[in-house]
Amino acid sequence: MDEMHIICNEVSKNYHLSWLNLALSVCGNLLGKQKIFATNRVVKAVQKVSVTINRGERVGIIGPNGAGKTTLLRMIAGLMEPTSGRIEVEGHVNCVMTLGVGLREDLPGRENIYIDGEIQGTSRKEISERIDDIINFADLGEFIDYPVKTYSSGMKARLAFAMITHIEPEILIIDEALSVGDVNFSAKASAKMKDICAKGKIVIIVSHNLGAIMDMCNRCLWMDQGRIVMDGNPFEVTKAYLETVVTQEEGGIRDKMKSRLVNEQTSHDDFAIRSMQFLDKQGQAKVFFNVGEDLTISFVIYCPRALARPNFALRFIRSDEIVVTENLSGEDGFVPELLEGETEIWIKSGPIRYGKGLYEVVLQLTDATNGEGTILAALSEVIKVENFYYPYENPIYFHRVSWGIN
């Protein structure tokens, strides 16, 4: 096999806490002052991972914190030896770990470009040919001749990013390096990033930005607790990942938000809104919705006496307290007469077009018989909106438009 490839065969990596560390924590424990005794002495960061990556594949790796993504990447890059198993890498590896880490603080920007280039295996002559492009891209002005320690964090990121833009990688490894600079620069950077990925023969990206993964990769690995959970098309894997994460989270979200949820039925008599649920197209209740999915809200209203002119208000409130929509049942042409007892009401909101995020859905019942009306009952629930529809930006609302083109 002379073709460029990466083969990992049952690769594992264990981290050991050092003896000194252990001794310290035992002492701490004996003194009874500190609770720093770690639960495990051995952390299994990567466990028996087998994966083959061939030429032309751009692989995104996703997963929660501590899943072993970075460890795997480092082993492939040759920065670390696996505890067991074998890694075979055919081809020249360029790797970009967290931006700015490789910069030498005492040296000027220009010198850093040369050093970095040489580390990546480019000759000084070749770099000299390209250096003007790099400096132009970084756009640092006279600062390029000053030591990196005089740079602001944004400037460091610019320099570090400009340096990787001009390598011609065979195997490119990128760890979380995608959001840098101000508005102007980050647009330039992400456009460039796509270019580089297109040039690289094998690209491996670790990122929490699922949009970027879907944008740039044609294969996706999902890691959890040191193992590969799923391997396949980025669209399917990110979707499955989010769904799982979200089902795990669903209960959590409610618990987290509990303190903020209201359930008022304290008013005069016992009007109450009961069991608000979010139903999808199949009529199944869930908390997690994708943009574009049909949403129906169902709830039960209990009235101790008949109500001639009830008015409901339904609000979707973002986690940063922006009220995205407010619907009054009266304005939507719904003026029912509520009889004594329980009545079930459905609200069809059509396809969800809210941006991604957590929303507090508040429902209020007021009595509109005499003017203003007092709040008789209120209930709120949490809904989470995810966005596979368009993961690159997150507006408050996706509008449908009637376009006129001529």
């Binding site: 000027p108 407010e326 619907n327 939507d332 009401i345 368009y390 408050i396």
Partner: protein, 382 residues
């Protein structure tokens, strides 16, 4: 009203040294080259006021906050900060890497002068806010940047002094954490504390600040109400955001806005340079007051294509005015390729082709509580 912060003729120079020899020379002769990060900055912040500091990368925002917070002592001019302050600047500055999260919390509170009982009361609250769980007893060196930032935010904001400095880069985390952070900062602002936020982007912190100061290369360009400053900022940078993409299949010549009867009509002139059946147009409206993308629309979502051909085209889009939108940015982007169609597989061949951004001011319309209004269908089930 008394000024909580007074800055007069503040100038800050970083000493620039190309090599150690220059360092020797500088020490010896007291000379050396300097870079002026802040030049003759003057402003006052009243007690209880919130101020945003805006500007491009390297404008001196972080330097200004560091000077105010007392991290950089060798400034020229007069800086008076009346009262005790808390600051969220760089995480690495105030937390010890070899201590655990919990120890760092205690250490920070102790250094802020809290009593033992108070620390015991605040600690569980901070740990809960930071969402670190078990990890709180691990050492800081094992933390990811996100975890460190969460810990720093939770700890510092749990017991804030009269004055707070925030470098916004550090407000991080998932949506839930961000929402929580936002509410906490809002709460701090509303309790009469003086807050200065260095804002690195158009984002939610603008909603919290009445006034803004715009720094450009270390100089104060303008001080005033936040939205006015943003307007001048975008006028100044007009054209910088345009044409950042290749301009291969076409470009956007002009974007115009008309507002009538609560709808906004956006007329764009597109010039097609190469015939392709795969060209789409996307419009985004940013709300400057709220620092958010208010609306996004794309021809492909409405199953419409830009007709293949050459030459200019007029594209009209109409949407109801988002309630309360007064100062906005309208950005148009040409998108090439079918990958932009929702639900379709993401394909290799798609990308931005050209962009343009315009600043608009909208006449005030009746303000509703909901940001957008969409009718819903209500029904009674029997």
């Amino acid at each position: 009203m008394t000024a909580a912060i007074q800055v007069k003729n503040l100038t800050y120079d970083y000493r620039l040294l190309k090599n150690p020899r220059e360092l020797l020379g500088a020490v010896y002769r007291g000379g050396g080259r300097r870079y002026r990060a802040l030049a003759d900055v003057n402003f006052e912040v009243a007690r209880g006021e919130t101020l945003a500091v805006i500007g491009a990368n390297g404008a001196g925002k972080s330097t200004l906050l560091k000077v105010l917070a007392g991290v950089l002592p060798n400034y020229q001019g007069m800086v008076e900060v009346k009262g005790r302050h808390s600051a969220i600047l760089e995480v690495s500055t105030s937390f010890a890497r070899l201590l655990t999260g919990r120890q760092n919390i205690r250490r920070h509170l102790f250094m802020q002068g809290h009593s033992k009982t108070e620390i015991a009361r605040l600690e569980p609250e901070i740990i809960e806010f930071s969402e670190l769980g078990q990890v709180i007893d691990h050492r800081l060196i094992t933390y990811s940047n996100g975890m460190k930032a969460k810990l720093a935010f939770a700890t510092i904001t749990s017991a804030v002094n009269e004055i707070l400095f925030i470098d916004e880069l550090l407000v991080v985390g998932d949506e839930y954490f961000q929402g929580k952070s936002y509410r906490r900062i809002k709460e701090i602002c509303s309790t009469g504390r003086t807050v200065i936020i260095a804002s690195h982007n158009l984002s939610y912190s603008e909603r919290l600040c009445q006034r803004a100061i715009w720094l450009d290369k270390g100089r104060v360009q303008k001080i005033g109400p936040t939205h006015e400053i943003w307007r001048s900022y975008f006028e100044h940078y007009k054209g910088v955001f345009d044409n950042i993409y290749p301009k291969e299949f076409g470009f956007i010549d002009d974007i115009k806005l008309q507002v009538a009867n609560g709808t906004m009509k956006i007329n764009s002139t597109i010039v097609r340079l190469k015939p392709t059946a795969d060209l789409h147009y996307q419009l985004a409206i940013h709300d400057i007051d709220r620092g958010l993308m208010a609306a996004l629309m794309n021809t492909s979502w409405d199953k419409i294509r830009i007709p293949a051909g050459l030459g200019p085209l007029e594209v009209r889009a109409e949407i109801p005015v988002p309630s309360g939108l007064e100062y906005g940015l309208i950005g148009g982007v040409l998108v090439r390729g079918s990958g932009a169609i929702p639900g379709s597989e993401i394909q290799d061949a798609w990308g931005w082709d050209n962009s343009k951004q315009v600043y608009v001011e909208l006449p005030q319309v009746e303000r509703k509580q909901g940001y957008v209004s969409i009718p819903m269908e209500w029904m009674k089930c029997t």
